[in-house]
């Protein structure tokens, strides 16, 4: 398949992470976080998702570049590539 899932998945998590961390930064220390034991959860978790998303995205980009550089390799002898 020509679409590397890691690219849209990384993008989505980067966006969600960015939204959460910007919002979390703007509201840090507010009464909003009373329910969460006064932890700035939006900010921390937003940053975590941002990093995860960026990592996934970069891996996807690297994978795509690799796939473009080396054309599909021929099946090694003895390997059954069924369905091709």
């Amino acid at each position: 398949m020509n679409l590397d899932l890691r690219i849209p998945m990384g993008l989505m998590f980067m966006l969600v992470g960015a939204i959460l961390s910007v919002y979390g930064w703007a509201t840090r220390g507010s009464v909003l976080y009373l329910r969460a034991d006064n932890l700035d959860v939006n900010l921390y978790w937003g940053l975590a998702l941002l990093i995860f998303g960026a990592g996934t995205f970069l891996l996807g980009r690297r994978g795509e570049r690799k796939a473009r550089l080396e054309p599909q390799k021929a099946p090694t002898p003895g390997e059954h590539r069924r369905g091709h």
């Binding site: 679409l3 009373l34 329910r35 090694t76």
Partner: protein, 610 residues
């Protein structure tokens, strides 16, 4: 029940973003769907890790996330048996021993494998019952989701703002999930379903992990949790020698045989819903790796879905409180008003309310009954501020959709290949079957919606359906086990065995009753010969009887018949199939090595939480 859930723009933004990406993936994949093989089998070209995560996620429906949290709140850590005795050994078995026959036989579906191995009638029986079950299961998922959205008042604010009647929320929720799931499967087929299942898997972790972390922080860490709960909650094997000394009401034999062997192997090793994802990989060795890769996150899922249930019970029951805080020099007062159901509950698990009268349901001793299914949802609403709340609710919706999607793609494949192409229209062009698959998706979703509406009209229909499924599913594993490992098994043997197994399940259910239940849907509708300490014990023993009946009858009937010639069974039966040469020469990269690591880890986990 719960007060209005106040969702802010941030929450809606996150939810909307997810829907955009889900449909976007469908659109991006549309141009690759050229043949029916692309659509139904993802072109057999996906990487093992993607299929592995999808293998696990296809099972992450409503039952999994909501049900495991509920069980965790009700029974404690013992719920982990569903993972560490149930799923993991079965996943290892299907990867190491069974996948070579599924993948290598070139069958395009599990019923088709049954035709190759046995005969046409066994396939027809399996294909029909499977098609019906997938549609009903996806309907049940849909119904559960719409009900949850209603109970939690997620869309109430939106509907009030738009001036729409609140009574439409149920229909709107159903339509929303139907349109989204239909959209991405119609466009991108199995590939799209698999990609989205992986996305949903990641989202469920992103939404639930902070819940566990905040919940743990709130009760004072693991030691605080331990102090707040009865000791039995933290041990999974204590009191298992006898059914009456543990909360599950099951003894170790019933557990290992009923759940560990018959039910779990029956589900993970024969259900096309999960097998289809493994069959979408590019090589046989990768297909064997898929269930093993899936077993890695599966093993740790109890910490994500069962632990919140325990945390919900351990938390302090909410009361009306007013908190005063200084924010930027001004005193801010926040009052949380607690509903009656919440106040009467235990921890964060609310009491059950009668949907008609709105009154709290009391048990026989006059204490309020707890609504365990709301353990996880009420945790989300209690701990998450807006922002994270949007993410958590999106994760919850994602889990329902991923359960639906797997059923829908399994349905369109079995319908098109095993029923339509085999009995209704043979020999049409590939493009015709591709088109059929797309429209079967529409048909499957419409039927699911019909099921969901039927479920909302008749209270018992969901329980009845699930009961019937269990009769049909319980004996299945015996058929596959004999088919793959005993070359003498005949088509007649397999067919009569299946019928005998289902009959045995029904008869056993009709003759036994869990304690404190009335004869009827819970059993005992023929006569009550035996009572079980819990419905779980009854379930496990129904499965054991069904499996045994199928196993014995299939062997006896096969011995009287003439087996298929051995030449026709190459690639379908273990003893007649030459062992595929390992393509991976580094020993620790082979599937067997991964299987050993998994087994050791699962034993260690059982020991830690014994």
């Amino acid at each position: 029940m719960f007060g209005h859930t106040q969702l802010t723009a941030i929450d809606w933004m996150i939810m909307l973003l997810y829907f955009v990406f889900v449909l976007g993936i469908g659109f991006a994949l549309k141009r690759y769907m050229k043949t029916s093989k692309d659509f139904f089998q993802a072109g057999r070209a996906l990487p093992a890790w993607i299929c592995g995560l999808a293998f696990m996620s296809a099972n992450l429906g409503a039952q999994e996330v909501i049900g495991m949290g509920a069980s965790g709140a009700k029974y404690g850590i013992a719920t982990s048996h569903f993972y560490w005795i149930g799923a993991i050994p079965a996943m290892i078995f299907v990867g190491i021993f069974m996948m070579p026959f599924y993948y290598g036989s070139k069958a395009r579906s599990v019923p088709e494998f049954l035709r190759l191995r046995f005969d046409e009638k066994t396939r027809a029986l399996n294909a029909c019952s499977f098609a019906v079950m997938t549609v009903f299961s996806s309907g049940i998922s849909m119904y559960a989701m719409a009900r949850l959205i209603q109970t939690l008042h997620i869309f109430d604010g939106l509907f009030v703002t738009l001036g729409l009647p609140l009574g439409w929320i149920f229909h709107f929720s159903m339509l929303l999930s139907a349109v989204i799931v239909l959209g991405y499967i119609f466009l991108g087929g199995l590939t799209s379903a698999i990609y989205n299942e992986v996305l949903q898997f990641a989202l469920i972790i992103a939404g639930f992990l902070p819940l566990v972390l905040i919940g743990l922080h709130n009760v004072g860490g693991v030691s605080g949790l331990r102090a707040a709960l009865p000791t039995a909650y933290m041990h999974s094997w204590r009191g298992m020698e006898h059914a009456s000394t543990n909360p599950l009401g099951v003894d170790a034999f019933g557990l290992a045989m009923g759940l560990g062997f018959v039910l779990s192997f029956g589900y993970w090793c024969t259900d096309f819903l999960v097998i289809q994802t493994a069959m979408a990989t590019d090589t046989q060795e990768n297909a064997r790796r898929v269930p093993l890769i899936a077993a890695i996150p599966k093993m740790f899922f109890p910490f994500l879905v069962i632990l919140p249930g325990l945390l919900a019970i351990a938390a302090t029951t909410p009361r009306n409180v007013t908190t005063e805080t200084m924010v930027n020099g001004t005193i801010v007062r926040e009052t949380r008003v607690v509903s009656k159901a919440e106040a009467e509950g235990h921890g964060l698990v609310p009491a059950k309310t009668d949907p008609l009268t709105g009154k709290i349901v009391l048990d026989a001793s006059g204490k309020p009954e707890l609504d365990y299914d709301l353990a996880i949802p009420s945790m989300l609403l209690h701990y998450f501020p807006s922002g994270l709340l949007g993410l958590g609710l999106t994760a919850l919706l994602a889990s329902f959709m991923s359960g639906m999607a797997g059923n829908v793609t399994a349905f369109n494949t079995v319908w098109t290949y095993d029923l339509y192409q085999s009995y209704i229209r043979k020999g049409a062009s590939d493009q015709h079957y591709l088109k059929m698959g797309r429209w079967a998706t529409v048909g499957g979703i419409l039927l699911s919606m019909a099921t969901a509406y039927a479920a909302s009209g008749f209270n018992n229909i969901m329980d009845t359906l699930q009961l019937v499924f269990s009769f049909v599913n319980a004996p299945l594993f015996a058929t596959f086990l004999l088919g793959m490992f005993w070359k003498r098994t005949t088509g007649n043997g397999a067919f009569t065995g299946l019928i005998a197994g289902t009959t045995a399940a029904m008869v056993h259910h009709g003759l036994t009753l869990p304690i404190e239940a009335h004869p009827g849907i819970h059993g005992g509708w023929i006569a009550v010969l035996h009572t079980y300490p819990s419905d779980m014990a009854q379930n496990f023993w129904t499965a054991i009887w069904a499996f045994s009946a199928n196993f014995v009858v299939a062997i006896v009937v096969s011995l009287f018949g003439k087996p298929k010639p051995e030449s026709e069974l190459v690639g379908l039966v273990h003893s007649l199939t030459p062992r595929a040469k390992a393509t991976e020469h580094i020993w620790w990269k082979r599937p067997e090595a991964l299987a050993v690591v998994l087994l050791v880890t699962v034993v260690v986990l059982n020991l830690i939480f014994r």
